[in-house]
């Protein structure tokens, strides 16, 4: 296995880390105004992610940095080609990043309603746009000979892109619901169980729909480099979601979340398998596509980054485990909570 393949896998792992860890933050945010009925419940829900959302968000920063360093041409082409969509995501992230802290500082109803709406809208928006962007990449981007993409924001909002958006939206809402099953008790937890089931069903439906229309919009997904094995990877998504449906109503608080993680692993694996060895296929001419070789940094950069990742990622996991342990499995509010 060469460094380019290894880095393709590592970027997929970082996307997975981000989807699993930050994904429930977006899901919980998106659910906020629907799952919590009053300020007390809202604070309860917010504090489920309160101490950890900021650390989780670093997965996104890491992903950006890793793609920049390992596949600079991908970073340059996608970010500039998807300009306004990227900006929209950035604005949503900005308004989300300040929301929890700002909300907690003032007790007026108007102030809190504003930030509740903000948390809900930004959570839903980011969850949706992520899938839209990825589906468009799967479909192929109009990269020219210089690997530059000239297209508008609206061209991203096509049927296939929106179908991808619905997958990520339902996936993160499912993930957020299962996270709340794990972190909460009482009525909020009961509602979370119902939401988890509902979003898992929605996730299965949109995923099947996406798979059905894939041959029309992105035939390369079926013609992937792994043949028949590659074609069955999406089944992991469905298995995970079915697991969520079966366990959401049970007495287990942790199983639904674990199954939700399996669904996300399936989604990221399907993405990786479907696109390999390309990273950004060109819809103009297959020769203009960016793949793991023509978009990558030189050997030394990839090697240095690999060493850094091998040392760094375990440290990140240690910090995270410590933080999650300190705050316990179930949310307990005190005077320093949000």
């Amino acid at each position: 296995m060469n460094l380019n393949i290894l880095w393709f896998i590592l970027v997929a792992v970082i996307i997975l880390g981000w989807s699993v860890m930050d994904g429930f933050d977006y899901g919980v945010g998106g659910l906020l105004n629907f799952i919590a009925k009053n300020d007390e419940e809202k604070r309860y829900v917010i504090n489920a992610i309160g101490p950890v959302w900021d650390g989780n968000q670093v997965w996104l920063i890491l992903g950006g940095g890793a793609v920049f360093a390992a596949f600079p041409l991908v970073y340059a082409s996608i970010f500039s080609g998807f300009y306004l969509a990227m900006m929209l995501v950035v604005w949503l992230i900005i308004f989300r990043a300040v929301s929890f802290e700002f909300r907690s500082k003032v007790e007026s109803i108007k102030w809190r309603n504003f930030w509740d709406a903000d948390i809900t809208v930004t959570g839903l928006g980011i969850a949706l746009l992520l899938g839209v962007a990825i589906a468009n990449i799967l479909m192929g981007v109009p990269l020219n000979k210089e690997h530059i993409d000239y297209q508008s924001l609206f061209s991203l909002l096509n049927v296939f892109g929106l179908a991808g958006g619905l997958i990520s939206l339902s996936m993160f809402l499912m993930h957020g619901s299962t996270y709340l099953i794990m972190k909460t008790e009482g009525e909020v937890q009961q509602r979370a169980r119902a939401f988890a089931k509902g979003f898992a069903v929605a996730f299965i439906i949109v995923t099947l729909l996406f798979l059905i229309i894939s041959p029309i919009f992105a035939p390369r997904l079926l013609g992937n480099s792994f043949g028949v094995i590659g074609d069955v990877v999406p089944a992991i998504m469905l298995i995970g979601a079915i697991g969520v449906i079966l366990t959401a109503g049970s007495s287990s608080d942790i199983k639904p979340f674990a199954y939700s993680i399996i669904a996300i692993i399936g989604a990221v694996a399907s993405l990786a398998v479907g696109i390999f060895p390309n990273i950004v296929p060109s819809s103009i001419n297959a020769k203009y596509s960016l793949n793991i070789y023509n978009s990558a940094s030189n050997h030394l950069t990839l090697l240095v980054m690999l060493i850094a990742t091998v040392i760094g990622l375990p440290l990140v996991l240690i910090y995270a485990i410590y933080a999650y342990k300190k705050f316990g499995l179930k949310v307990k509010m005190d005077d320093s909570s949000y």
Partner: protein, 468 residues
């Protein structure tokens, strides 16, 4: 490339970087001060130091989230607006950014949650360690960001590959590029300096209202002690940094000092109205020989003027394919000159203020002198102006390059992002940043007011329980 789109992309980068850098210095510096105050509490069991820590941690939190929010765009913006730059140097420039995320930002962001929300969940010592990790993580984050920036000033550890694109040849040469040590020290000390003034200014504000406020007396004491060390040290560090500029970026130095033509006994110009069209300074005052002295420790030494520096760079880089430089490609010299000089004058002012404050502290008159307290309160945010002017100097002074001697700004911008796109995003950023800054200021003021109204920084008895 459309020149309007280039101009807009530059405005957007400058604006977002300006806004972002209003916040991280306080994260880095106040982080250190919190380590000091909380550590003092742990070792002396003095409750008042805990109250200092808990109050300033609230202000820290407000500042922190705006810094995080405005920082995200910085990482994405190289790709969105500077795609040519990103594909050209990403193999080198991208790695410190990724490493920053992995080794620094995770540590900072995970432990900031533990620190801010974990007051009742951790033992006093464990909490202090979280605070240390936040301060350490944010400083380490500064290390890697400044590796990236200093590499743009003095690129090293690379070779131009056969495809004309630079590739990394030595990671540690890239990290410890010539400008890194002095830039890092200068920026981190600037962060500490601002934070000392911030803590001093806020404490002074409370003491003006009530000089029997024992908690704020302690905060002021810590801030003045740290402040005087940092503010005096910064003058030395700044001087060392400037000599690195002399060595590696002659065009920047010439603009900082408004020196048009090479000369021996070059003066340190204190006041001038530099004019690019006439290549002269108009009415000006300077100290003869001083610039030569500062640059080469020899008053007779010849210092390169801007015109000579341009010829020098053209000759030195003749093998590289960047366009031949002309004076017309350079920014107005007055911007760089005045950014640098005002920053420098501020630097002396800060050292003076802190020395006077220390004198008052040693004479035991600091808390009873409304004039001194007012001076400190007035100076609270002045270091932030100096910090931003420092960035103006180093970033505008680097022009017309993005990577000095290697890549020009004109060749860095995205080709596929239109004027309409950037116009739209700038408009949004202006609106968002005005909103965020207003919220932050509102919440800051609110925290101050609430404390005056007697809402104590220690809710309940939880903190007392902790000391056991």
């Amino acid at each position: 490339m459309d020149s309007t789109a280039l101009l807009l992309a530059r405005i957007q980068f400058g604006m977002t970087a300006f806004f972002h850098f209003l916040y991280p210095p306080l994260t880095i510096g106040l982080g250190l001060l919190l380590v000091i105050t909380e550590g003092t509490y742990i070792f002396t069991k003095d409750q008042e130091y805990l109250r200092v820590t808990r109050f300033f941690a609230k202000l820290f939190a407000i500042n922190f989230v705006v810094g995080v929010a405005s920082g995200i765009v910085m990482e994405f913006q190289f790709g969105t607006n500077w795609a040519q730059y990103s594909s050209f140097v990403g193999a080198i420039f991208g790695s410190p950014l990724a490493i920053e995320g992995l080794f620094a930002f995770f540590m900072e962001s995970i432990f900031v949650g533990v620190m801010l929300l974990g007051w009742n969940r951790l033992s006093a010592k464990a909490h202090w360690i979280s605070t240390i990790l936040v301060a350490f993580g944010s400083t380490l984050s500064g290390v890697w960001i400044l590796v990236a920036n200093s590499w743009m000033q003095t690129p090293a550890g690379y070779k131009i590959g056969s495809n004309g694109i630079p590739k990394m040849t030595n990671f540690w040469h890239m990290v410890f590029n010539p400008y890194f040590p002095s830039e890092f020290t200068h920026v981190i000390m600037g962060a500490w300096e601002y934070s000392a003034f911030f803590m001093a200014g806020v404490a002074a504000w409370f003491l003006i209202k009530n000089n029997k406020d024992m908690v704020m007396r302690k905060a002021l004491k810590v801030a003045v002690i740290v402040g005087v060390i940092v503010a005096c040290g910064q003058i030395i560090v700044g001087d060392i940094g400037a000599r690195e500029v002399v060595k590696y970026q002659p065009t920047k130095l010439a603009m900082m000092e408004a020196l048009w033509h090479s000369q021996k006994y070059a003066p340190e110009t204190l006041f001038a109205l530099p004019n690019n069209a006439t290549e002269s300074n108009g009415p000006h005052i300077g100290i003869p020989g001083m610039l030569s002295m500062l640059s080469y420790l020899n008053p007779a030494a010849k210092v390169m003027g801007l015109n000579a520096a341009i010829r020098y760079i053209n000759k030195k880089d003749s093998k590289l394919d960047h366009t031949k430089l002309t004076l017309a490609m350079f920014p107005p010299v007055w911007i760089v000159f005045w950014s640098f000089h005002i920053m420098m004058y501020f630097g002396f002012y800060f050292a003076l203020v802190m020395l006077i404050a220390l004198y008052f502290l040693l004479k035991d008159k600091l808390f009873d002198s409304p004039k001194m307290l007012k001076l400190l309160w007035f100076s609270t945010f002045l270091p932030l102006i100096a910090i931003e002017l420092g960035w103006f100097t180093t970033e505008i002074g680097r022009q017309p390059f993005t990577v000095y001697g290697l890549l020009t700004t004109v060749d860095s911008v995205s080709k596929n992002v239109s004027v309409v796109d950037v116009g739209l995003s700038i408009t949004m950023f202006v609106l968002i940043y005005i909103t965020l800054a207003s919220f932050a200021v509102y919440l800051f003021k609110r925290e101050l007011r609430e404390r005056v109204e007697g809402k104590d920084e220690l809710a309940g008895e939880s903190a007392k329980a902790q000391i056991k």
